[in-house]
């Protein structure tokens, strides 16, 4: 096991990593910008090194500085957390080349999954379902009809050279192809000087469902169920839950097995998440995140597994400590991302925290680097706390979440706690009946 790990991140996730290390008897090195000298994880770490000025490019993204910090502290492993350098294959490469252990997947897997096109081809080849489409250009309405019949309506005709939402046409019935295909080709020619178009299945109100996996590099891969992260605003997840209200056990097992089979073939190492859109009982691959995710605690809550601990163990060369048969899903968990932002306008609200009081009691977990009097720097993202609530059933979980949100005090700055309180009172949300556009539609109705 590692003697000392450098935590190449900040905020709540740096604290999360510190806690896991501390609980494993591993000494921690916090790196930080000048803006984060007072941060909780810096105060708690065994050692701390200031590596640069506030801009992330000069500190948390500054590879030479991070390696220098590892060098002067004699760290053995480097944990990148999420964001920043966590999915930077070059960083993983340099870390390993300098003789440190990168606590994450192999450089090669990061690289492959980091390229959208290559990722899609790779996972498709491994047997993971992707959004169906024509393999190339389509010119003939009859060919289009045949393809669309296979993938199911509605179907999107997309300009091969298009982008930014232009050069697209939605087709809901076969008889629309006759005119739609030609129209799209004409528009495309006019707009992009290229009349090539192709087909892709169109998802109207999909959910965002992601499968958590972990592998130890021997080909042994285990899935830890899914998370439903459909509540998003501008592609940012706001609230996540596990299990998804939309899946039953059979579906869960099937998609889990598909993902496990695929990633076993490439001997995937460390934590990873395969993200899908889900509609009408079908999964469609979006991307794979080759790192620990913000919302990992909901999976920890329902499985009882400490994901970060397991990730560190594997990086240190240990085999997975459990098999698929050992995984039991228990109860329901929801995570609310507490952001320093106005709950209506979403304007970020950095500044000095007045009173800070986290909710407690049974089934409530708070991951936060905040404390009374802490000054939230304006340079980084607005996530300041994660409230994770676990209950026996989804309803128990919602009741407990409501209770916990009501106890949460963060003064001095604006936080989005009222948004979460409102959200969980919505009938659609209570019914589990929502999709990736639901939150933005809800917010529009609020105005």
């Amino acid at each position: 096991m590692f003697e000392k790990v450098l935590i190449a991140n900040r905020g709540e996730i740096a604290l999360r990593l510190h806690r896991a290390c501390r609980e494993m008897g591993i000494r921690t090195v916090a790196i930080h910008s000048t803006a984060d000298a007072d941060a909780m994880h810096v105060r708690l770490a065994d050692e701390a090194v200031c590596i640069g000025p506030p801009p992330a490019i000069d500190s948390y993204l500054n590879i030479p500085s991070i390696l220098a910090a590892a060098e002067i502290t004699g760290s053995e492993g480097i944990h990148p957390g999420y964001g920043f350098l966590s999915e930077n294959a070059e960083f993983a490469h340099i870390v390993e080349e300098h003789g440190y252990t990168f606590i994450g997947p192999s450089e090669q897997h990061i690289r492959t999954m980091g390229d959208k096109i290559q990722a899609k081809q790779t996972v498709k080849g491994l047997g993971i379902p992707v959004v169906p489409g024509s393999d190339g250009e389509v010119t003939d309405p009859e060919e289009a009809k045949a393809l669309a019949a296979d993938m199911g309506y509605p179907v999107l005709i997309k300009a091969a050279s298009g982008g930014g939402g232009r050069g697209m046409k939605l087709v809901r019935r076969a008889d629309e192809f006759a005119t739609a295909l030609e129209a799209c080709r004409t528009e495309s020619k006019a707009a992009f000087n290229d009349d090539a178009v192709y087909l892709e299945k169109y998802l109207e109100q999909p959910r965002h469902i992601e499968v958590q996996v972990i592998g130890d590099g021997t080909g042994k891969v285990v899935h830890l169920g899914e998370r439903d992260c459909s509540l998003q605003r501008r592609n940012q997840k706001v609230l996540e839950e596990a299990p998804s209200p939309a899946l039953n056990d059979a579906v869960r097992k099937a998609i889990g097995q598909t993902v496990v089979d695929a990633l076993s073939k490439i001997k995937y190492t460390s934590l990873g998440t395969v993200e899908f859109l889900y509609e009408n009982g079908e999964f469609y691959f979006i991307e794979m995140n080759t790192r620990l995710q913000v919302e990992h605690p909901v999976t920890e809550a329902i499985t009882g597994i400490d994901l970060v601990r397991e990730q560190i163990r594997i990086a240190a060369g240990a085999p997975l400590s459990f098999s698929q048969e050992d995984i039991r899903f228990s109860g329901h968990a929801i995570e609310c991302r507490i952001n320093a932002e106005h709950p209506k306008t979403f304007v970020p609200s950095p500044g000095q925290v007045g009173d800070f009081h986290a909710p407690g009691g049974l089934g409530v977990r708070v991951d936060s680097g905040l404390y009374a009097g802490y000054r939230i720097p304006p340079y980084y993202d607005s996530l300041i706390a994660k409230l994770v609530v676990h209950g026996t059933t989804r309803n128990d979980c919602l009741m407990r979440l409501n209770r916990a949100l009501g106890e949460f005090v963060v003064d001095g700055i604006e936080v989005n706690i009222p948004l979460h309180t409102d959200l969980i009172q919505e009938q659609d949300f209570i019914d589990g009946d929502y999709h990736i556009h639901w939150l933005e539609q809800f917010l529009e109705q609020q105005d």
Partner: protein
């Protein structure tokens, strides 16, 4: 009130006494003289609530060595040369070479003052301005953090 008559040393002594004893007010009256000193009801905890139970090993590792304790105070010094990066600082280009500069040296802007090694690369740190090196605040071959004050050039 005649200027010469105020006993400033007495005020200093009394203030120290108040500090020592935790008193918040002293009033002394003698003949026609009267003096009253008040110290803010002091140990009012600052609003900034630091997690004091937190282990404070933080920052221990890369503190600049010899005059390190003073570096905090020197950071506002007009002649301070802060470290532009994290790494291991050296006085000279190689173990056998003479140091780039010594205390008392007259230097010109741009002249190399030291090197900092990070990722097997030696980065020359130039003088930000001309002047005389009055303090060297790090030991040879010791780690420095970003922002540590390395030298004073006046």
């Amino acid at each position: 009130m005649a200027k010469t008559k105020v006993d400033k040393d007495l005020i200093r002594e009394l203030a120290a006494l108040m500090e020592e004893t935790g008193l918040s007010e002293i009033e002394i009256e003698r003949d026609d003289d009267r003096m009253r000193l008040v110290r803010a009801t002091a140990p009012i905890a600052p609003v900034i609530a630091v997690p004091t139970a937190a282990p404070t090993a933080a920052g221990a590792v890369a503190a600049p060595a010899p005059a390190g304790d003073g570096s905090g105070d020197l950071s506002a010094h007009p002649g301070a040369v802060p470290s532009p990066l994290v790494g291991t600082a050296y006085h000279s280009a190689s173990p056998d070479a003479a140091p780039f500069v010594k205390v008392g040296d007259q230097i010109s802007a741009g002249q190399t003052l030291l090197v900092i090694e990070a990722m097997k690369t030696f980065n020359e740190i130039p003088a930000p301005k001309s002047g005389v090196v009055t303090q060297i605040l790090f030991d040879n071959a010791t780690p420095v953090e970003y922002g540590d004050i390395l030298m004073i050039v006046e």
